[in-house]
Each structure stands twice: as structure tokens, then as C-alpha cells.
Symmetry: C2
Subunit: 391 residues, 2 copies
């Protein structure tokens, strides 16, 4: 492990901290933020701090589950195609009486006295009479009161991010307010390479911070690291984390009174990543080289954001077949960026433009020397999907 | 197959079209829209109509790939730790001469005459002199001109959706304008069930249309189907597609002069889905029951949107283990909605609220009776990610 507070400029990283040590530092120093109650109607993309509990039975009464005719199931017991049961068709607006059937649409309340819905295909209709050719079981074609959920029942779990359709569905549960985790404010100081004056790292990091449940704030310059830390829940400084003469991210953090717990991590690309604190605010130093920056964000900084935001772990990764072998160094966690063709993953050269061509990456653990061609390996997408610079 | 133009109200679907027939109708009747040229700076989330070709070499000159000292590799051939090579350190601002080394930061141009970059760790430095303990190969620590891409080389493929960081990277390729597919305008007539006056289907469909590369337009009422078709590239009518008395989606399409190629498809849930045309505009009728609506959108309507938008197929689905068995009917393509616990998929009851609890679905092909508990099956996420109602 790099010694705490060591200036690595013009020296380099004599030793690297094990990747597991970085994960364990994150677990020890980063906790989920507190809850806040907000209207359900404006809660899209927010992350639940406690489970959502239904306030009503759903369905509220027995309702038809399909289009057809509502009948009393017990009356149909003896029906067959030789001796069809004949029922009187009503409009359902009058009280049900024996030998009655009424037309219903899916979702409509069942008339009291009826207990099943026959689909149109199972009947024949003739001048106000309905012929039923076969028995129907009670409850067939019916959604019983409370079948989906009962008042007081937990319905969505802690850590669930609300989807765009959820607010409308929450009204069906009688839920008007939800307790969500306060959104972590993540200050991004992008001081990495620019291309023709255009910042490359901010547009790469900010949508992914939003994806991980954070609120990304672009802050212009590293000199403001103390200011950024005072108004944010996490500071990410991207660029100048390494050991060159102008790599002043770590010294600037230390000069501001911060501590650097780890600097130099056995992650390839991304070894110049640093983790520290400024007062109680976590600070992550990411490399400026775009591929290393993305690798270190996805493997370390993203976990910090997700721990703060309370977002659950992502769904399992799909397995893909490697088109070519991957060779890796024992002792380093290595990310190999790949693109996909017909579901097979082709490793890319580890240069800056691989960020554009890559669709995802494969992780080689520190205990592994790599994977043979044809191996099945987990594929981690780097597609930020629809997440944009701000939530 | 349902007969073209048959009114299914109060009759139901006597026969269902095979799912493969619906896919083949889509392939025959829906083609990618034409291209348009737009500024690269505003092309985030747009889909490439032709490959992006680099206009420059990248790197433009030989550049350092790491922080360290630029040296002429051939001079280091005899260096070892007993007889280190001693070099004169310069600032790199004067022309390189034999026995010189100069400090470089990653990304800086190599001084003419130098051919490798030694990391700080591989050297010792003393009063303007640098001691080199081991030979270095030419090109080590250097990104050669054109190594990433050459001017004129294809760089991103047709069908690729531009990510938020791409516009900045495109400037590095000298690309200022890109040819993208015109965004399909998708009119959504949500006439399905409402909960307390709140539309359930629009908020569910619109973000997914955006995810699939479309531009969702919420249109208020089915009466405007002809109007919607005249200004959109696709019309989706959600609700009233079935065989109830008020299920007027299909009759309204026919009355407007449209044709209904398929109505009633062997898809469960979602059998009342319809596919047709109004003049040249494709029209998809989706069921109003939310779970059936989502199933039919994901399995059929999403493919129509993606064919119009030119979006490539999504990445392969991850495999998950089934917590319980799934039983399905031969002849129907069945979607079973599931939630995940510890990477295992638990099937949910097929009711309306499963839309909220579900994280994704499993598809049982029409030739299968289902899957045993413990089977590994592909998991399709229904998380619309960061896609919102509008792009």
C-alpha cells in the first residue's frame, strides 16, 4: 500500500494496494444517506429508503379478469355440449338472480352473486339467452379482492429505484408520498485531458453518476476541492492523479487538510486511483486517461456513489464467449474492454479511443493469468443508457 | 390466423396467429427511416445511419503513454543495475541530443529522437542526471501516430447509438457532423385503464419507445387515429384491443380506412395484440391490461420501433436460475414476469401489479411446456433505465 500522504510526483507508485483493500475502505467509510419524504408523483428515478406499503386492497373488490359473461359457477356444474345450460342475459345493472348472466369487460366489478367469467368463445348467444357448454370453476376469469396486494402489505423493497410508470401505479395502491434516499451530490472536478478545448471526462462521468443514483455537479477546477467537499456528499477529481510533475490532485487534497488513505491501487488500467477523505466527505481521485478513468470509475467510484444512494446491486451480467485470449498479470485486477459481434466479445487495444469502440468490459481477477479464447466470461456493459448529465 | 378485418367484439379470437407470423409481418412492412446530417455536438442518443470515419490520425503524432522520462531506446541496450546508463536530464524544450532524457507527462508529444518512456520507478535521479538500470524496448510507453485510428478509417458502426461522451471524443477524430437515422415519431393513443384518473399505460410505454430510439408523442384519444397516422411513423393504440363490447380499437382503425393484418396472436399475456397499416403507417394495437400491454410492447411493438430507428439488437441477456418451475401451454409464446433475489428469478403471479414488482421476464417458446425449477434461462430486464418520457 502507498504510505498515507506520500507525494508520488516524479517517484511513481512503489507498491500498490490490493483491490480488495480499496473495496473494504469504501465499505468502512461510505454509508447510505438519510431518507426524505417526497410526493409519489415526482418520485421517478428516486431510490426507496423503506419499503412501499399498500394502503388499500388491490383489487378493491372482486373484478373481472377478462371480457366475457359473469355467471354463478355452481349453476354450470351439469352443463355439457349435449345439454347446454341456458341463462338469461342481463346488462348487469340490476341485481343478479338465479339463471342470470351479464356481460362484463376486464377490470369491471363482478355483480354480487356471480363468481366466474366465461370467455365469449365458450358460449353461444341467441336473442337474450346464453348457452353454456361446459362447467366453469368458481373464480375462473376473476381477480378476487386483495389478490394482488392487501392493505398494509410491503410491495416494493428498499433500494428499488422507481421507474417512470411507478408513480401512476402507486396511486392504485393509495400511496401519495414515498420515503426515498436523499440524492448524493457528487462534485466532479474534471481536470483531465481536453480535446480541442472540449472536456472528455465530465460527459463520461456525469451520466454514470446519475445512473448510480447520484446528482452530478460539474465543478470547474481542482483549486476548489475544499469548496466542493463542503457542498457535496462525494468529490470526484478526474485527472492529475498520477506521478507526473503536474499531477497535483493528491497534493491539493492533502494541502486542503484531507487525508489520502490509498493512492496507487492494483487495478489495470487505473492504478493511479486514490481514495481519501476531506473532513467526512469521501474524495476519489481518478486517472485522466479516459480508459483508465472509466475503469476506475466503474470499479471503485461507482460503488461509492451506489453506497451513498442506496441503489441495489445491478442485475447479473450476461456471459459472452471470448473471440481471442486475454493475458493478464497476477496480482492486478485487470479490465479488458471489448466490443460484441454476434454475442462474441472481441478484446480491444487499451488506448484512449477504445472508450468509444467498447461496448463493455471483462474483469480478470488478481488471481488469474487471463482467459483462453472461447471462454465464457461475464460481460459488463458500459452503455450509460438514457442517463444524461443531470437527473 | 384471425381473418383480416373481422370484428372480434363479443366473439373473441377463434384462432390465434403464430408469434413467428407477427415477426415476419414486421420484417416485411417496417424498414429503417432515412438519414439526416446533424452536428456531432448535439448527437447524443442518436443512432448512426452510416459508420463514423475518422478525419485525422489519432494520435496525431507520437505521444507519451505514461508519465516518466523520454529516452532513445537504442542507447539503453547495455544498461543493467551494475552498470547503469547515465543520461543528462533536460526539460524537453530543446532538441534531443545523444545521452539526453527529458521528463514527459502522459499525452505529451515525444521529442524527436526519443523512442520510449521509462516510468519513474525504473530510474534513479540525481542532480540533473538520470540512472537507467535496464534496457527499454523502442515504443515502450509510447502511443505511435495513428495507432488508435488512421484518417479515413471507420470507427463506429451503423446502428451504434451515440453515448453522452461520444460528441467530445468525435472532436478528437475531427468529426463535426454525423449522419444519423431520422428519429421515428411514435404516436401513443393510451386508452387503457386509468387509476384515479391517472393514465397507467402512457408512462409505461413512452420511456421504452425512447429507449428503442423513437420519439414518443402522447396523443389523447383513439378518434384521432387517422390524424396520428398522418403525422407519425408509427401509431400505438394501447387499450380496447380485445373482444369486449367497448373494445373499439380495431373497428376504429378499419373505419379510418386502415387494414388489420393480424389480430389475435399466440402470445401470453398479450393475445389481443393487433398489427396493421393505415396507408403506409404501421399501427400496433396493444392490450389495455398493463402486464399484457408491456408484454406485447416488449415482444412486438419494440421491434417495430427498433426497425424504424435502426438501433442494433440489445446485448445478450444474462442467464438466471429459476427459483420455481414454470408451466406453459404448447403453441403459445409465454412471458413469465420475475423478480430477482441473489441472482435467482422468482416467477410472479400474472396480475396487473406484477408490472411494479417485476424486474424482468423469461420467455417460454411456443414449442416448450415450460422450465423445471433450477433451470438456467435468459433474463430480460424491464428496467427502462434513464430513458424518460421524451428524448
Amino acid at each position: 500500500m502507498a504510505q498515507t500522504g506520500t507525494d508520488v510526483r516524479l517517484v511513481g507508485f512503489a507498491t500498490l494496494a490490493a483491490f480488495a483493500m480499496a473495496l473494504s475502505w469504501i465499505e468502512q467509510h461510505v454509508q447510505v444517506l438519510g431518507p426524505e419524504s417526497i410526493p409519489a408523483a415526482s418520485a421517478t428515478h428516486r431510490i426507496l429508503a423503506v419499503p412501499v406499503r399498500s394502503r388499500v386492497d388491490q383489487p378493491d373488490v372482486d373484478r373481472a379478469a377478462r371480457d366475457g359473461y359473469a355467471v354463478q359457477a355452481s349453476e354450470t356444474e351439469a352443463a355439457d355440449s349435449y345439454t347446454p345450460l341456458l341463462l338469461h342475459l342481463t346488462d348487469g345493472n340490476t341485481a343478479w338472480r338465479p339463471s342470470n348472466a351479464n356481460i362484463v369487460a376486464a377490470g369491471m366489478p363482478m355483480s354480487p352473486g356471480t363468481s366466474a367469467v366465461l370467455p365469449f368463445e365458450a358460449t353461444a348467444r341467441n336473442e337474450g339467452m346464453l348457452a353454456v357448454m361446459a362447467p366453469v370453476a368458481p373464480g375462473s376469469g376473476v381477480r378476487l379482492q386483495g389478490a394482488d396486494t392487501r392493505a398494509g402489505q410491503d410491495h416494493l423493497a428498499t433500494g428499488r429505484r422507481l421507474r417512470p410508470e411507478d408513480p401512476a401505479f402507486l396511486t392504485a395502491l393509495g400511496v401519495t408520498a414515498v420515503d426515498v434516499v436523499r440524492q448524493p451530490k457528487v462534485a466532479v472536478l474534471s481536470i483531465g485531458p481536453k480535446s480541442g478545448g472540449v472536456d472528455l471526462l465530465g460527459p463520461m462521468l456525469l451520466p454514470r453518476i446519475v445512473r448510480d443514483g447520484g446528482l452530478g455537479l460539474a465543478v470547474p477546477w481542482l483549486a476548489t476541492i475544499a469548496y466542493a467537499a463542503s457542498r457535496a456528499d462525494l468529490v470526484i477529481a478526474a485527472g492529475r492523479s498520477g506521478s507526473g510533475a503536474d499531477d497535483d490532485a493528491a497534493p491539493t487534497l492533502l494541502a486542503a487538510g484531507g487525508t489520502l488513505a490509498l493512492h496507487g491501487i492494483a487495478l489495470q488500467p487505473g492504478e493511479s486511483t486514490g481514495l481519501g477523505l476531506l473532513k467526512a466527505t469521501p474524495v476519489v481521485l481518478l486517472p485522466g486517461e479516459p480508459l483508465a478513468c472509466l475503469a476506475a470509475y466503474e470499479m471503485l467510484a461507482a460503488r461509492v456513489v451506489r453506497r451513498l444512494s442506496g441503489l441495489r446491486e445491478p442485475a447479473p451480467a450476461p456471459m459472452v464467449q471470448l473471440e481471442r485470449k486475454i493475458v493478464s498479470t497476477i496480482g492486478m485486477v485487470e479490465l479488458v474492454f471489448v466490443c460484441l459481434h454476434d454475442g462474441r466479445a472481441t478484446p480491444l487495444a487499451a488506448d484512449g479511443l477504445a472508450v468509444m469502440q467498447a461496448e463493455g468490459y471483462v474483469v480478470v481477477p488478481e488471481t488469474s493469468e487471463g482467459f483462453a479464447a472461447g471462454s465464457l466470461v461475464p460481460f459488463h456493459s458500459i452503455d450509460a443508457g438514457g442517463w444524461t448529465l443531470q437527473s
